[in-house]
Amino acid sequence: MDERSIHGMSGASATVLGADEIILNMGPQHPSTHGVLRVKLKLDGERVVGTECIIGYLHRGVEKIAEHRSYQQFAPYVDRMDYVAAVSNGLGYCEAVEKLLGAEAPPRARVVRTILTELQRIASHLLWLGTHALDIGALTPVFYCFREREEILKIFEKYCGARLTTHAFRIGGLQYETYDGFEADTKRFCDDFAHKIDEYETLLTENRIWVERTKGVGILSAEDAIALSVTGPVLRASGVKWDIRKAMPYAAYDQYEFEIPTRENGDTYDRYLVRMEEMRQSRRICLQAVENIPSGPIMGKVGKVLKPPPGEVYHAIEAPKGELGYYIISDGTTQPYRLRVRPPSFINLQAFDSMARGGLVADVVAIIGTIDIVLGEVDR
């Protein structure tokens, strides 16, 4: 990959146009950009010859805020980065601070965390599937997806009172014990969900329009994906079998059996199949976990005032969108000296240029959808 293909058109080259070239602005208010992403496209007819992503519209300075809040006070803020997968954000943050403290959540808390995080992965993928299909023109799946997502949000609501920005976990364990019927609700959802995924697949997987719109679109090779630090389903669809849940297990993932789905072609269709299979695997993890939730305390031995020993830690989890990492430096006080979030959406979005360049302008929408970005996390 040459350097030009990476930074896209920029600065001077954006204004230098060939006789047949035009600049098309897409967003920040375009419905298919899933938020406030602005993409500048340089077009030659219908071909995309250059792209530039303009981001930052949702920048809130989350990392700066972290330096002025105590460790517990900052926890709700992480829910507002990837706000369609707040539980995963919270898990990463709580585990990172626990690592910094040298503390550990008790087994019961770890299993409950795993269940909720896998439900969140399904919810996040369902939102992705519905909107992605909608962007490409399939109107039906979004209704089905939101129907099932609603069931998951109801479980969250019953568990912690919130549906979206849940703040479900606490540093050291859980704030709340599971409610009566948590296991039954989860089990019922998982039992029903097996057929539901098949139902989505009947709508899309062999649908000729869907296949034509996604196969061979936005190809990303494994080498390019690694060079661009792409993680998550996008990386796995390019044929790299890597999942942090397996590579560096956290929470309770080492106790459960599940597969890492991969595909070879690295196109939009493969990324669709990988995420569909991931939902099945998440369901499998939930079913195993809910069968046997250990009893015991839900909160580990952490103080009310957290003063991690000076030093630093990097902890990453497999969020629905890829590697979500927290790099925290403690100076021994109650507030982080520096907190860096390694956001999967931001870093995966950088690969957009490699995927879209040379393709058709109509495919840009499919490619933005297939990366699965949330602008709250891109901009932080």
């Binding site: 350097e3 990392e63 103080g303 990492g325 000296y337």
Partner: protein, 252 residues
């Protein structure tokens, strides 16, 4: 660069923001994270009940144990002297191989919470990174960021988090850079560095030499100041920009 004494500036003794001298802290850390009200009573209580640093219990006890504290004091510091978590020197084969390749450019190496950290000379950062990728199989640049230590002579740390698929290991490289020093870009080693370096430039004002497109990425292009520097107040903003572009007096 080699004759810098980085140990003085190690993050264990942070330059800014620390409310108390970290040197006096080891006793705190030994008993796990103590609660604030426990602090006075920590020394007498901790050694006798080292297995129970739980806050709810502990915070209930200080009133009762305080009178007894002076008696317990002489015995107290002996047992829990060793902090539970502390950086350990790192000198494994990886570090030795890197030292043989780059000599004094590998300035320091330690383990913190079982994670390897290596400090390299800023000028050779790109070469060291390339060698990590090609010779040591650290094929992915997971993250690139910076940290500001304003009281240090070279105030910035550029921090690279690398990952190796083959070894399933992470490695953290750090390089210290002064405010006006430019850091060699890593875009030629990992294209992923492009946006990450732009973000560091945007937030800290660090210039990456040779970067193909070093512009602000999250903040508006015309914004004055670098928000993640420690001397940038959390309430500060570019009022002129806000007035001109948003038509209001304050964005707060």
């Amino acid at each position: 660069m080699a004759d810098d004494s980085p140990e003085k500036d190690r993050p264990v003794a942070p330059a800014g923001g620390s409310a108390e001298p970290p040197k006096s802290d080891p006793n705190d850390t030994s008993a796990g994270p103590p609660s604030a009200e426990l602090k006075d009573a920590a020394k007498p209580v901790a050694p006798s009940t080292p297995t129970a640093p739980v806050a709810p219990q502990a915070s209930a006890t200080p009133a009762a144990t305080k009178p007894a504290a002076p008696a317990a004091r002489p015995v107290a510091p002996a047992a829990p002297k060793e902090p539970a978590i502390k950086p350990l020197p790192l000198d494994n084969e990886l570090v030795q191989r890197m030292k043989s390749r780059f000599g004094s450019a590998i300035q320091e190496a330690w383990l913190d919470r079982k994670q390897s950290i290596i400090v390299v000379a800023c000028g050779l950062l790109a070469e060291v990174a390339r060698s990590c990728r090609d010779d040591e199989e650290f094929d992915m640049l997971t993250d690139l960021t910076a940290v500001d230590w304003p009281k240090r002579e070279k105030r910035f740390d550029v921090v690279l988090n690398l990952y190796s698929f083959a070894r399933n290991e992470r490695l953290r490289l750090k390089a210290m850079a002064a405010e006006n020093e430019s850091v060699p870009t890593l875009c030629a080693v990992w294209p992923a560095a492009n946006w990450m370096e732009r973000e560091v430039f945007d937030m800290f004002g660090l210039v990456f030499e040779g970067h193909p497109n070093l512009q602000r990425i999250l903040m508006p292009d015309e914004w004055e100041g670098y928000p993640l520097r420690k001397d940038y107040d959390i309430l500060r903003q570019d009022t002129a920009w806000v007035r001109e572009n948003l038509g209001i007096e304050s964005g707060q």
